[in-house]
Every structure is written in structure tokens, then in C-alpha cells.
């Protein structure tokens, strides 16, 4: 273990990270957001999931620095009287969770199918890649809207509200696997022609072991890069779906559903209900994308930047 720590400590990745201010800033912001949102039950001033703690009389209070502000609610309250700060903390947690697990599902599906397509080639490859083409020709949102709307209509809103987070992970996860499958397949095609793969075939190893132990570790850098971008994409997709009313329910809002719930009041002057979650969403997606850009530059040896 210490050996791997040393390898990491001396790696080009860490060196480049220490010299790249944008990467460091993005990483700090991301870390801050993740830490704050995941410790929300401890640090949030209110519990937005507890109906008893919400008073409808507190609704629509502007941020505390404005004239009608209330010092109890730093960032004001929404139309139902929930403290914006607490709701946003909980909402960010939901958004990040969905983004992370959706990408986990995408990557597992995409990596396995991409490995199989690239390694076996022939008919399996043709079949899987045509499947990916078909999947890509429907936009993620369209597939998600259809699936979620049908689910909501057939099983009722009650059940949907309970399962919303799993449904979102499942739908976003399944809809985007071709991104991974294509990238992995391309890397596998390049790797499997190298002689080290022939060397292990001569030893007699089975194809599953060759794929997982020998080829997969050598395709990790592109996977890492698209993973960061895909987390940002998944968070965006979730926000878009929630904004359309197909995502997280009102009593368990994510950033997207918060933006949506404030949208009705934006013209009546309650800008804060939409603006704060929107700002957090933009910052979150931006820092993840910046980190992804940095990672892509570092892991691409053909690209030298000083």
C-alpha cells in the first residue's frame, strides 16, 4: 500500500495538479460542495424533509440581508416556507448522489459491453455497436421523459415519489452507456494488437481474464476523463428532468426541482428561490468539467502545455 502511495505521490498527475491553479481551485470548490452537502444533516439549520418543522407563515422570505429578511433564514425561504440554505444543501446531496451512481451504472455497463465488442470483434462487435448507435440516436432526455412519464402514469405518483431517486439513476445510467462503450471499444482495439496481449494468450489465459486484468487497466485513462464529464452531464440531465417535473418530487427536492419550484415565483419578485440553486448547479457542473479538462490534458501525452 505504501508503495502505491509513493507512486501516487511521485506521479505526473499530482505534479501537474500542484502547478495548475484552475485544477486546484476547481477541486477545492468541488470538495467543499461535496463535504457540505454530505454533512447537511449535521450542519443544515433546518430539516427540509420534516413537515413539522416547516411553517407556511415563513414562506417567501427574502435573503436575510434584504429589508424584509429574517435572520433565521440566511438565504430566505421558498414558497412552502422551507429554509433555502438547508434545502439546497440536501438538494445538492441528492444531485451529486444521482450523478455519481448514474455514472457508476453507465460505466459498468459501458465498460463490459465495450470490452466485449472490442475484444471479440466480428458479429458481437457489430451487434453491440449498432445497439449503441440506436441508443445514441434517441437523446437521453427523450428516453428519460418517455420512461419516467410512463412509469408515473402506470404506477401512480405516490410510488414514483418513493422510487424517484432509483428511477433517475437507472434511466440516466442506462441511457448513456454508449459513451463508455465506444470509448472503451476504441482503446481495446488499440490495446489488443499489442504484443503483451499475445504473450498472455500464449500462456493460455482465458479471454475474460485477459480483458479484465490486462486490457482494462490500460484503457483507464480515457475512462477516467469521460467519467468526470459524464458526472456533470448526469447532474445536468437530472436537473433538466426535475425541472420538467419528472425528477425528484417536491418534498425531496434536488437542485433541478428547486429551480423549477422557484420558476413560478420569479416574476413576482422571489428571485432567490431559483437563483441560488441555479448558481450552485452551474458552479458544480463547471468545476467538474474544468477538472475533466485538466485530467484530459494531463493524461494525453501528445499534448504538452507549460
Amino acid at each position: 500500500m505504501t508503495r502505491y502511495w509513493h507512486l501516487f505521490k511521485d506521479s505526473a498527475l499530482l505534479y501537474s495538479f500542484g502547478r495548475d491553479k484552475v485544477a486546484m481551485a476547481s477541486f477545492s470548490v468541488l470538495l467543499l460542495l461535496v463535504l457540505l452537502s454530505f454533512s447537511s444533516p449535521l450542519i443544515a439549520p433546518f430539516d427540509p424533509y420534516d413537515p413539522a418543522g416547516i411553517d407556511i407563515m415563513d414562506s417567501d422570505i427574502p435573503p436575510s440581508w434584504q429589508e424584509e429578511g429574517d435572520p433565521r433564514f440566511t438565504l430566505g425561504t421558498d414558497a412552502q416556507g422551507r429554509d433555502m440554505l438547508s434545502t439546497m444543501l440536501y438538494g445538492t446531496r441528492i444531485s451529486i448522489t444521482i450523478g455519481f451512481f448514474a455514472v457508476l451504472l453507465q460505466s459498468v455497463l459501458g465498460i463490459l459491453l465495450g470490452l466485449a465488442a472490442g475484444y471479440y470483434g466480428g458479429r458481437i462487435d457489430a451487434f453491440l455497436m449498432r445497439l449503441a448507435d440506436i441508443q445514441l440516436s434517441f437523446s437521453t432526455l427523450m428516453v428519460a421523459i418517455v420512461v419516467l412519464a410512463v412509469f408515473q402514469a402506470s404506477f401512480g405518483t405516490e410510488l414514483y415519489n418513493d422510487l424517484a431517486i432509483f428511477m433517475l439513476i437507472l434511466v440516466i445510467g442506462i441511457a448513456e452507456w454508449p459513451q463508455y462503450a465506444r470509448t472503451v471499444r476504441a482503446s481495446v482495439l488499440a490495446e489488443k494488437k499489442k504484443e503483451y496481449v499475445d504473450a498472455v494468450r500464449v500462456i493460455g489465459l482465458g479471454s475474460r481474464r485477459i480483458m479484465l486484468r490486462h486490457i482494462l487497466p490500460n484503457t483507464l485513462s480515457p475512462i477516467l476523463v469521460i467519467s468526470t464529464v459524464q458526472v456533470a452531464n448526469a447532474i445536468m440531465s437530472e436537473a433538466a428532468l426535475s425541472f420538467l417535473g419528472l425528477g425528484m418530487p417536491v418534498n425531496k427536492p434536488s437542485l433541478g426541482s428547486l429551480i423549477n419550484s422557484g420558476f413560478e415565483y420569479i416574476l413576482s419578485g422571489s428571485w432567490w428561490i431559483t437563483a441560488f440553486p441555479a448558481a450552485i448547479l452551474i458552479i458544480l457542473v463547471l468545476v467538474i468539467n474544468l477538472l475533466g479538462d485538466w485530467l484530459r490534458d494531463v493524461l494525453n501525452p501528445k499534448l504538452y502545455k507549460d
Binding site: R3, D198, A199, R201, N218
Partner: protein, 347 residues
């Protein structure tokens, strides 16, 4: 140096028997592209690269058989087919009396540990994510599932010592080694399972000249100590002279001549071999004139009729243009595929 191989204690005889081996690679085209109009009819035409065409070759126990030929003559393909990395289009391969080219992966397993391969490019033949120790342990663990850690460690140490790589470097990754050291590691990987037959596919052509000799000597030492049999693919004739007991000369996917090394270099029979040998740069003035071949090697997609060499051969006659010559024995233990030699037209 060409006689080192006869010291093996095993009975002489054929370890590997290759009969009528062919390997054609289809030029991958879509179904629609295969369709052609010919004489008003729609015909499906499938083209392929004919990399090997009916090669008969025996590897005797304890010898170092060198396969030489220019680029694209199919020598690496022969190596890959013998190792089971490619499936032959036609023909058979026997290993120690047992046909192995049609065995299932499972039944091939006992043979896998008896034959190993060394590759050309030491920068690509080691997995960059595995340490030397992991790379060396893998074949051993795979073929001896119950092996203890101590025994494995001793074995790794032993083999690393024998190829001249310091065993204390076992935790290092391939990128921390030079090309010559990497090739030593990949030889060590092949030796881990104690094979008796090693196919070496141009193992030194990617190395520095100064390192080439070291690696070659290492391979010869290993041969002596471990009673190895080599099939050595190369295009470097000086290496052949130094290393091989017998030489097989290939041209366009078929065998021209098979002869003991000294005989081949002193009295080449086949017109192609003559041209090949005369092309070796020499310092002395009384060497025979360099035979210059005219034209290019024909494309292996569209092979010439008769003898594949006829359109570049000064001795070619009508028979050569029509009939493909078979290997036939001539004196001195040589086998030559040439009508001219058989008829005595070629001196």
C-alpha cells in the same frame, strides 16, 4: 558456433511437424463490396492475403531452426500459427506426435506450458501496468494453481538471475527498464514455465546492435542449460550464421530451401537463396558478385502461377511458369523447391 544444439540429452527427432500449412487473411469488405459484374453476371468475389501457402517444416528436438526471408514473406505468420495465436486456413501442426492445431483451448493447455514465445518489440510485449514480479508470476501461478508463495518467489529470483536482471528490481514497472533489459524480462517470462520449445519472433531486431549480441548470447546460454529447441524468426543473416543449426528460407509464403546453416551459406542452391546470400556485405575482395534481383515481390493477394519466384528468376523456363515446385532432397541434407535445381539447370 552453429553446432551447439546437438548437446541435448533428449532423443533426436521431430518435436514440431508442420504439414501443408496455409494461412489466408480475408480482406475484410462488406458484402456489397464483394459483388462484381463479370460478363453480365453478378459474382461474389472474395479476396484474401495469402500469407502462407503450403509450408512443410519440421523442427528437430534440440535444434535452433532459423526461418529467414524478407518483410512480408510470412515468417511471423508461421510463428503465430505454430503458437496457436492464429488459426491455420489449411494444414496441420503436430507437437511431439500430437496434432495441436485443432485442439480446444482446454486440451491445448498442457502444450501451452511446453511452448512459449518471445516477441519482437520489448516496448509492447510487457504490460505497462504490471510489475516485473507480477508479469513473471502470472504464467507460473496460472499453470501451477497450488504453488506456494515462497516457491514462487524463489523461482522468480532464479529466472531473473539466469537472464541477468537483478532480482531486487522485481517490484519495478517495465517503463523503468531499457530496451535490452525489457527483452531479458520477456525472455524470463517465457522461461518461467520451463518450456522445451521457444518460438522467437525477431527477438533482437528492435534492439541496439551492442545489446543484440548480449541477448543472443543469453538465448544461446538458456538453450544449452535448459535443452531448449528454438524456432527463430529473423531477417538478419549474420544472426542466422551465428545462431542457427538449420535454416529455412521463405519467399512469398512458401519454403524455398531448407538446409543446415553451414551448407546454406557455403553452397546455396535455390536461385533466391543465392541472391540473398550474395547480398550480405563482406570485406574480402574475392566474394562472388552481388546478384541483383529484378522487379518487386509480387503481391500476396494475387499470387503468380507456378513457382512464386519465376518472374524474378534468371533460370525460369516454361515449366517454372506453370508447375509449382515441391521440396525435394538434394545431397548435403538440403531440401530445395526448384525445378531448375532438380533438372540440373541451376549450378
Amino acid at each position: 558456433m552453429s553446432g551447439i544444439a546437438q548437446q541435448g540429452s533428449q532423443p533426436a527427432g521431430d518435436l514440431v511437424k508442420i504439414r501443408g500449412l496455409s494461412k489466408w487473411f480475408p480482406l475484410t469488405k462488406g458484402f456489397l463490396e464483394q459483388l462484381h459484374f463479370e460478363g453480365g453476371k453478378l459474382v461474389r468475389k472474395r479476396e484474401s492475403v495469402k500469407a502462407i501457402n503450403g509450408v512443410d517444416l519440421d523442427v528437430k528436438r534440440g535444434e535452433a531452426l532459423c526461418v529467414v526471408g524478407e518483410s512480408g514473406c510470412g515468417k511471423s505468420t508461421v510463428a503465430r500459427v505454430v503458437m496457436g495465436l492464429l488459426e491455420p486456413t489449411a494444414g496441420s501442426i503436430e507437437y511431439d506426435g500430437q496434432r495441436i492445431d485443432d485442439l480446444s483451448a482446454e486440451r491445448l493447455m498442457p502444450y501451452r506450458r511446453r511452448m512459449q514465445m518471445i516477441f519482437q518489440n520489448p516496448y509492447a510485449s510487457l504490460n505497462p501496468r504490471l510489475t516485473v514480479k507480477q508479469a513473471l508470476e502470472e504464467p507460473m501461478r496460472f499453470h501451477n494453481p497450488g504453488i506456494g508463495n515462497g516457491e514462487l518467489k524463489d523461482k522468480v529470483q532464479d529466472v531473473m538471475d539466469s537472464v541477468g536482471v537483478d532480482p531486487s528490481w522485481r517490484e519495478r514497472f517495465p517503463h523503468e527498464f531499457s530496451g535490452g533489459q525489457r527483452q531479458r524480462v520477456s525472455i524470463a517470462r517465457a522461461l518461467m514455465v520451463d518450456p522445451e520449445f521457444i518460438v522467437a519472433d525477431e527477438p533482437i531486431s528492435a534492439l541496439d546492435v551492442s545489446i543484440q549480441a548480449q541477448v543472443l548470447n543469453l538465448m544461446m546460454d538458456a538453450m544449452e542449460q535448459r535443452n531448449l529447441t528454438y524456432m527463430f524468426i529473423t531477417h538478419d543473416l549474420s544472426v542466422v550464421e551465428h545462431f542457427g543449426t538449420r535454416v529455412a528460407v521463405m519467399y512469398l509464403g512458401s519454403l524455398c530451401e531448407l538446409a543446415p546453416t553451414r551448407t546454406l551459406f557455403e553452397t546455396p542452391r535455390h536461385p533466391y537463396t543465392k541472391a540473398l546470400i550474395s547480398a550480405i556485405p563482406k570485406l574480402n575482395r574475392d566474394r562472388p558478385a552481388h546478384i541483383k534481383l529484378i522487379g518487386e515481390v509480387p503481391t500476396p493477394i494475387d499470387l503468380p502461377s507456378g513457382c512464386f519466384f519465376h518472374n524474378r528468376c534468371v533460370y525460369a523456363n516454361d515449366r517454372c511458369r506453370v508447375e509449382k515446385p515441391e521440396l525435394h532432397s538434394v545431397d548435403g541434407g538440403c531440401r530445395v523447391a526448384c525445378h531448375g535445381v532438380q533438372e540440373g539447370r541451376v549450378d
